[in-house]
Symmetry: C2
Subunit: 163 residues, 2 copies
């Protein structure tokens, strides 16, 4: 876990080794077509371009919590990047010329390895806990830690930009 590309910088400590300020519980898992990092799309736009759907299976005790979600066209998923290191604070992504701060990237490598993904909800079966979604940029088996309804009124900023 200590390999670095040129220009990458690690914290003086590894958040994975700390006691932590709080704990998370897995509420389900992703089923995706992506079995290796090489084939896994790097973002949701790339994932959509493949045309491949994905699904989540929510664990039995949590399934009642999905009630009412079927009314929404889009959902916010929070995932736990369980196969990512947590100690890099400057990273050198392939698409960038120079090292970039971890919080200016959507990389899975971050102090709290949580992914945020907006997906279209294709179908929802509360009894089996299965949500079918239009695409996902996660490896098969990645844990899910939260599902929320997506609200255009507070979550959609189509004019958001980068200077």
């Amino acid at each position: 876990m200590s390999q670095r590309r040129e220009g990458e910088t690690a914290l003086d400590f590894d958040p994975a080794e700390l006691q932590g300020d709080g704990h998370i519980v897995f509420i389900g898992r992703v089923s995706s077509p992506w079995k290796s990092r090489d084939e896994c799309p790097k973002n949701m736009a790339d994932a959509r371009e493949t045309g491949k759907t994905a699904s989540l299976t929510i664990d039995a005790p949590y399934r009642r919590g999905l009630s009412g979600l079927e009314r929404y066209t889009h959902v916010v998923l929070l995932s736990w990047f369980d196969r990512s290191r947590r100690d890099l604070i400057l990273q050198n992504p392939r698409h960038a010329d120079t090292p970039r701060g971890t919080f200016s990237l959507r990389s899975p490598v971050r102090p709290n390895p949580i992914g945020m993904h907006v997906a279209k909800l294709v179908s929802l079966d509360i009894e089996t806990g299965i949500l079918e979604i239009d695409a996902i940029d996660l490896l098969d088996g990645t844990p899910i830690i939260d599902v929320k309804p997506y609200f255009a009124s507070i979550d959609a900023f189509p004019d958001a930009a980068k200077s």
Copy 2:
């Protein structure tokens, strides 16, 4: 923590009492005008209507990770609702007629008490770790666990709806 409104249902266990599947670390705190639940806006739209800005202070070891974020107009914040119970799976919000599943709500009460907030980035000072944002629907002092750039191409679905 065991009080319930009519129709609310708890899990058979309390996620707060479990050992957990992973741990999170606080990377900073929110400074907001909201010192009590009664005055705290219930969502980001209400928070914007107040016209009051807010700020985040990122802890010193993590500040380098903000490098590059200044180029983005909007950010995704993940917060840790440290004052919320985690065991309700059906909730009875004031705006609803009947109990709703936790995952169909943006309520802070959820198995993993993580909030997702999209805010406009007003200013960023990497040296002090202070991000000024246009609004926040969080109590003063709430921990921050992640900051990400917001991308219209993958995060903005202005036509998302509720049936």
